[in-house]
Symmetry: C4
Subunit: 288 residues, 4 copies
């Protein structure tokens, strides 16, 4: 930790960029967040032809300012971090890189269609926002709840897809191309639109039988939405129970065994076997 | 509390306006509520051109009655309350003022577009209804549950927005302006319409790839709706566990035994056996 | 219970109609259920012009059969029940009557518009299905859960309406009649369509500001759907907790007070005060 | 289990087909899964006229490969299984058969409309995927949760249908055929579209009264979606409370005190103090 003259400036930079405790660090984080949001707004506004026509120069300049800042940040991160390679090939490293180069690329190449995908690249900056999430305790909780119920949700989605495929084909047979159900994929797409209760209405059944099946699909979708919800809220309640409900009336027990009577599952703070009163061996207690 | 002659009428007014216990107070509250609802209905009906054309006079008179009543109420509140300034600059104080002045303003200025915003001002009367909520115990509970899970919900909304921005841009690239996705903001708007399972259908993907992405967005939206629900219901369940399930009608009992009759399951704070009245051993009680 | 010769046939009829234990009773219930469903199907089919044109005679005959059966049932119920008046003016009594007379009425009067409302009357037969619910244990549970959370749900609906009124007016101001938001009521209607994530798309915002507000409304609606769900599932979990979680470690206490030390909240089975060991008075124990 | 020369090859086949433990078994399962998915994709692509026009040959060949594989699998299953009849008339047996024959049938008969239903038959292969579910532990859990709350959900759906029928007829009376509500069945269909918050928008109320009723229906649908969700999540929470929250890692403790060292909160089954090893008093233990 003893910073030598040479690395001291580096160390300070590292502190500013990677830590949020120092006032400079806080300032840096805020500026970064603002610029990220600004850059996204820029990309969006550019896509609105009227605005782009009017304020093209301003947008362009803004783009430049942001790109330069991000470039400097990227370089700074590489310099200050201990293992540059690790950072460069980390999720955020790649995001930082990809979301910075577009403007430079737009010099080398051109073509509106290509510029579009370049804009898309810029949008990767959104992921930079995720950096902020580490300041939000809730985010972790939420992520945890989702990860815990991930398996369940996947199974659920799998079920939804199977239903959609079957119902979609039936709709295709019943309604047929003449009523907008041009192909099975389209019908399956329509089914998911309906199952998820989105219901665009660009395609809608017009035959009585089709409408009957649609009814079944809708009610099905209406009913099965309960499943993921149930799962997540159960997960949540569970995680809460751990903290709140599981009160002072319960104590954690470990798998250590008594050397005298072999009784297991003693309290972590147990010094004597609760079965035979034999002193419990020290090692395990030290380890506990 | 000893009302002097001078302030006695004030005191009575205060009682009528601020308390709902006295018959007069109750009556006042009911009249107020009716007039609030009436005033909102008035504003709405005015906006319906046919109705406004026919019954303009009636609406206008009704408006006058309400405005006068509200004006008097406003003045009465200022007079009767101990610290007028506190009330005037309180949430309800501002609401009461803003929702009363419109008619007076409509004399000073004119211009249909302006009158519209005046109508909007009048709509602030809706907030007056919130005054009633203090009579509804549930409202507090509900508000509490929402406030408790506010942080979580914000994180969730943040996530929704990030998804919408990313998916929106992708849709913009895939579908492009020729299919109604005129700009990224519009695409993001469409994404939220889809994620929230609203699905107006004014814009809908028409390319296979676009429909595939739409499917993903829909299922995503269908899945993540589980999160806020899970959060709130968990909050609710939690708050219930404390207040309702383990309400004041239940008390914790332990398995300690009476040395005289051997009866078990005494209340934690029990000093005497509830079966035989024998004093229970001290140590445990001292340590409880 | 000793049926005399005179009333014996009545008694048997009563058994058949009101009880489902006897084979005849079961049969009666099944026939009734089938005829109820049939009658609803009839009314529906009649409304489909093509079907009505083709099979008018069949539908008409079917209608006759059902009406006659229902008439006989209605008379039978009045005869067999102990207090006819109670039945006649009970919910089911009125339903049975109203859902039987339409055909007879259709003789006295005519006029397609009137016949429509007559059809509607017939639809009251749907409520007869509710009779079946008494065989479904779950129904009671469900009803209970809903009734328990009724207050909460009402508050929630009230909140939804307030939001809809405010947002609706804002939309009316922003979008205006030229974009389909003809009046505040229409805008409020649109708001509820959006808040509830139904989203017909018959009206949709077209100005950027309008779409921004729409986004807020949608996410709001998407978020607050969590509230009723949370409420109900909490209610459900609660009702379950009562049975499952609230285990042997908790005991019910009453409000009886000790005559010696005044300590309250004794266990129902307490004979001695847990505070001072004084014998508790007998009356209260006998009453408990 | 002692495989004779004759049946040994059979026994090995049985192992490969029915068990997933052996490497060959695993491989077989994976190949099967891939082919099932492939076959579904094929059927879908065939339905897209453009694709079918271009790549008809490839699709046809693919179809052949899959059909042959499935045929062999089907025969193998019959040969290797102990009770062929049981398998053949089991759910999977019928699925396997029906999803294999289509191509053979398409030789005997022809006619686009018929070929469609043949395609549908092929889609039954989707159900083969269900075979995979037995590898997913979650699936069982999910199924259990659904089965547990099946009765409740049925009651709920029944309620939804009753509401839809009543509201649908009212809409038919209010809006009438001139506004798209051509018949009661159509109106009921529209009602379910609205209740389930799908809202296609192909039909939408245009009269004020109709829109008012629609509002009620929407809010109703928005509210009652809470019921199935509440049910399922309650089921889930319940099932979790037992398995997860109070898992084998926690043991109940009481507040009984050791007479020697006064340490409290011993396990209910403790005979000796876990702090000092002193024997705990008998009475309480005997009664535990």
């Amino acid at each position: 930790m003893k910073p030598t003259n040479k690395k001291s400036w580096r160390y300070r930079l590292h502190e500013i960029i990677y830590e949020a405790d120092t006032p400079m660090g806080k300032l840096f984080d805020i500026v970064l967040l603002i610029l990220i949001l600004l850059s996204i707004v820029l990309v969006m506004l550019e896509s609105v032809s009227e605005i782009d026509a009017k304020y093209h120069e301003i947008l362009y300049i803004g783009e430049w300012i942001i790109t330069i800042f991000f470039s400097l940040e990227y370089i700074a991160r590489i310099i200050t971090v201990k293992k540059p390679r690790v950072y460069i090939f980390s999720f955020y490293g790649i995001i930082d890189f990809l979301s910075t180069i577009p403007l430079y690329l737009s010099f080398l190449f051109a073509g509106s269609s290509f510029l579009l995908s370049v804009r898309a690249l810029r949008l990767l900056r959104v992921f930079r926002i995720l950096k902020i999430t580490r300041y939000i305790g809730e985010a972790a909780k939420l992520r945890k709840a989702l990860i815990n119920s991930k398996a369940k949700i996947l199974v659920f989605l799998f079920a939804v897809l199977v239903i959609a495929v079957i119902a979609g084909t039936l709709m295709y047979i019943i309604e047929g191309p003449e009523h907008g159900f041009k192909s099975i994929p389209i019908s399956v797409y329509w089914c998911i639109v309906t199952l998820t209760t989105v219901g665009f209405g660009d395609i809608a059944p017009s035959t009585p039988l089709g409408q009957l099946l649609a009814t079944v699909i809708m009610i099905l979708g209406y009913g099965i939405i309960a499943v993921p919800t149930g799962i997540v809220s159960a997960e949540y309640t569970k995680s809460m129970d751990k903290n709140d409900v599981l009160g002072k009336d319960y104590v954690h027990v470990n798998t250590q065994a008594c050397l005298n009577c072999g009784a297991q599952r003693h309290r972590d703070d147990a010094k004597y076997c609760h079965k035979c009163g034999e002193k419990l061996n020290y090692e395990s207690n030290l380890e506990t």
